[in-house]
């Protein structure tokens, strides 16, 4: 499994050629106290690309992006943005990139317009305050104080402060964390617009659907390393079988789990205290097309490559074990499934 990432790196047809790279990272390392936050990362992001850093909390996404933003000094490795380096061209770089940080709280008592006017004044060139307000769709809130904005509006304001300098390269650190679904969609639209305008975007997220929706390419990070890198589609195709089958069973309770030694997730109490039925996993795994099995709480998950032939056989096998299905669904594998396959953990476990 470990070589999947290497494979993706080596054969990545979307990797930019070095000359047109908006961002190039080589051998990046950073440790805090005794934690190796970033442990040897190489990345290249092409101009005009929307690139996602995806991973659970603590994977090293924010440290990586903050090193790129020139806010944190790396212990080792080099970072080049727009062919410039922080050490020598910091002033120029600050003018040409836009940054949205996690959890910035702008002063509550300033209005949207005042906040943007302040940030606009830092840039030699850029769009007007009016344009940035329009872009973030905050026209109605122009004269409202920041303290009275909703979470989504605050996040769009943060985005607008990143855009006032008309940046070539835009960094967004978890732009939708903590937002409700509607506000997230709203922000996604905004990012789509930025993409259309030809800006290079680098964003971190721990939402798989966000990365799938927005990113041209995604690097999956875990424990400070990039463990896979490709387009969302390719990642899903290479790492996972096409589909995921999820089911839960009820039915004849097997009193003594030891009588069926192959049983996985042996008899256990679920949340309601019912005895869960024991499934003979080995029998399921023998079905052609079933690649693997794992448990997510009381839910069984199978990776299945030939959905149309495998599903009837799964039904038959469960029937034969005297089990009744209480839940059954299938979905196409997502980046979330990729992460689970790569690390054996759920993203939300972190």
């Amino acid at each position: 499994m470990g070589n999947v990432g290497d494979h993706a790196l080596a054969e990545n047809s979307h990797a930019p050629d070095g000359a047109g790279a908006a961002l190039r990272i080589r051998g990046l390392k950073k440790a805090f106290a005794d934690v190796q936050a970033v442990d040897g990362i190489d990345l290249e992001v092409a101009k005009g690309e929307c690139f996602g850093l995806l991973g659970p909390n603590g994977a090293g996404k924010t440290t990586t992006i903050e090193i790129c933003e020139g806010l944190t000094e790396p212990d080792e490795g080099t970072v080049e943005l727009l062919r410039l380096k922080w050490r020598t061209d910091a002033d120029e770089l600050r003018q040409r990139i836009g940054i949205q940080l996690q959890e910035t709280q702008f002063p509550d008592k300033l209005t949207v317009e005042e906040t943007l006017r302040l940030f606009r004044s830092f840039y030699r060139r850029g769009i007007t305050v009016d344009e940035s307000i329009k872009l973030a769709q905050l026209e109605e809130k122009r004269r409202s104080r920041v303290g009275g904005l909703s979470g989504g509006q605050k996040q769009r304001l943060a985005m607008a402060t990143a855009l006032v300098g008309d940046p070539e390269l835009l960094f967004l650190d978890e732009p939708t964390t903590g937002l409700d679904p509607q506000a997230r969609r709203h922000l996604w639209d905004l990012v789509e617009e930025m993409k259309q305008a030809g800006r290079t975007i680098i964003l971190t997220t721990h939402y798989m659907d966000e990365a799938e929706q927005l990113c041209d390419r995604v690097a999956i990070m875990d424990h400070g390393k990039v463990i896979a890198l490709d387009t969302p589609k390719e990642l899903i195709a290479t790492v996972c079988s096409e589909d995921i089958v999820e089911f839960a069973v009820s039915g004849r309770a097997t009193a003594d789990p030891s009588t069926s030694p192959a049983a996985a997730g042996s008899a256990q109490d679920d949340r309601e205290g019912r005895r869960l039925a024991v499934v003979d996993v080995e029998a399921l795994k023998k079905i052609p097309g079933v690649q693997s099995h794992r448990m997510d709480e009381s839910l069984h998950q199978l990776s299945v490559s030939e959905l149309h032939t495998a599903v009837p056989r799964i039904f038959a096998a469960l029937e034969a074990q005297g089990l009744h299905l209480s839940e059954f669904r299938t979905h196409s594998a997502t980046l979330e499934d990729v992460f689970v396959r790569l690390t054996g953990r759920n993203l939300r476990d972190e």
């Binding site: 933003e69 020139g70 806010l71 002033d91 600050r94 003018q95 940054i99 940080l101 996690q102 959890e103 910035t104 709280q105 702008f106 002063p107 008592k109 300033l110 005042e114 006017r117 302040l118 940030f119 606009r120 004044s121 830092f122 840039y123 030699r124 402060t161 300098g165």
Partner: protein, 348 residues
């Protein structure tokens, strides 16, 4: 022409930082009270408590009509006729401080000689009765009354309050908003933009100076109009002094806030720094009352130097050139904390 000026201001980051800072200060109602309302209320309170009252009229009693009339002739006495037992009672409960009794041809004064008012009444009463009986003064005497401004308590305390206020508003103003910005990751966001770092600080200092002008003019104007506090030194030197004092405490506030991560931490540090000065620097009473052994410490404190210099200017009309010790102490307290905080300041 005017529109292009406006444009260039609009795009000047130093101007925007300064204006933003001022707006944020003015939009905090509590801050407005502490900066403008509090010192005026304090001055009013102290002014009332320590006001110069007109010389008191002392209540006295007398047992005959003749004596009562003689006593009433003195403006410093208020005489009431009463019999002896009523007079004894009145003395006991303090409604009169002296009772004059007719005994044959002579007069007996009954009063408490440990009470200064009673002793004064004794002298006034005796003079009034002797004059009524026909005494002539041997030496002619005239009175010339002096109520000198500058020697009253209110004159002493106004420079103290001014110094205290300059300290408080500069330190709280800088310290709190810097730590607040750090806590809310606003500072980090600012350094992630192309904002020149020095301008962030300069914006604070400039807005402080504008606020300072308002604050000092309001407070001293009030003290002048209501209490007639004197301004004997050159006003421009007083203004310069206020600017310097404000910069000193802004630098101290910056130092205190340069690394603190929480409001609790910075409040604690602020109080730790300001408490000794509230007590020792002679805001309400002269710092010379402290024992000689701690006088060097007392005089090394920036607030002591500030208040001494302000008093020197306002009350004695001393030129700044003669206040070299105080000016030296203030300059040192500006340069050192400022340099240290620039070195150790944390943006995140």
């Amino acid at each position: 022409m005017s529109s292009s000026r406006k444009m260039s201001f609009e795009y000047s980051s130093l101007f925007q930082l300064t204006v933003t800072r001022m707006k944020l200060t003015l939009r905090e109602p509590e801050a407005i009270f502490w900066i403008f309302g509090f010192p005026i209320l304090l001055a009013i309170g102290l002014g009332i408590a320590f006001r110069n009252r007109p010389a008191d009229v002392l209540p006295v009693g007398a047992t005959t009509e003749q004596l009562t009339q003689a006593l009433a002739a003195d403006k410093g006495l208020k005489a009431t006729e009463m019999d002896e037992s009523a007079g004894t009672h009145a003395l006991a409960v303090g409604t009169i401080v002296l009772l004059a009794e007719q005994r044959g041809e002579g007069v007996v004064y009954r009063y408490d000689n440990t009470n200064p008012d009673a002793r004064t009444a004794r002298m006034l009463a005796d003079r009034a009765i002797e004059v009524a009986a026909g005494r002539k003064d041997v030496v002619t005497a005239e009175n010339e009354l002096v109520h000198e401004t500058g020697s009253r308590y209110i004159d002493f305390v106004v420079p103290g309050l001014l110094g205290m206020n300059l300290m408080g508003s500069a330190m709280w103003g800088l310290g709190f908003s810097i730590v607040d910005g750090r806590q809310k990751k606003l500072l980090k966001r600012m350094v992630a933009s192309p904002m020149p770092k020095w301008q962030f600080l300069a914006g604070y200092l400039l807005s402080r100076l504008v606020m300072l002008a308002i604050e000092v003019v309001v407070f001293l104007g009030f003290a002048k109009l209501v209490f007639g506090v004197p301004f004997r030194g050159p006003l421009w030197e007083l203004a310069l002094l206020c600017v310097l004092v404000s910069l000193v405490f802004a630098a101290l506030g910056l130092l205190v806030a340069s690394r603190a991560k929480t409001m609790e931490a910075v409040s604690g540090l602020m109080n730790l720094v300001m408490m000794p000065m509230w007590i020792l620097s002679g805001i309400f009473f002269s710092a010379s009352r402290f024992p000689a052994i701690i006088q060097p410490l007392v005089h090394a404190l920036p607030l002591t130097a500030a208040i001494d210099a302000i008093r020197g200017n306002m009350l004695q009309g001393v030129q700044l050139g003669q206040l070299t010790l105080q000016m030296g102490i203030l300059l040192a307290w500006f340069v050192v904390p400022f340099a240290v905080s620039l070195r150790i300041f944390r943006w995140r």
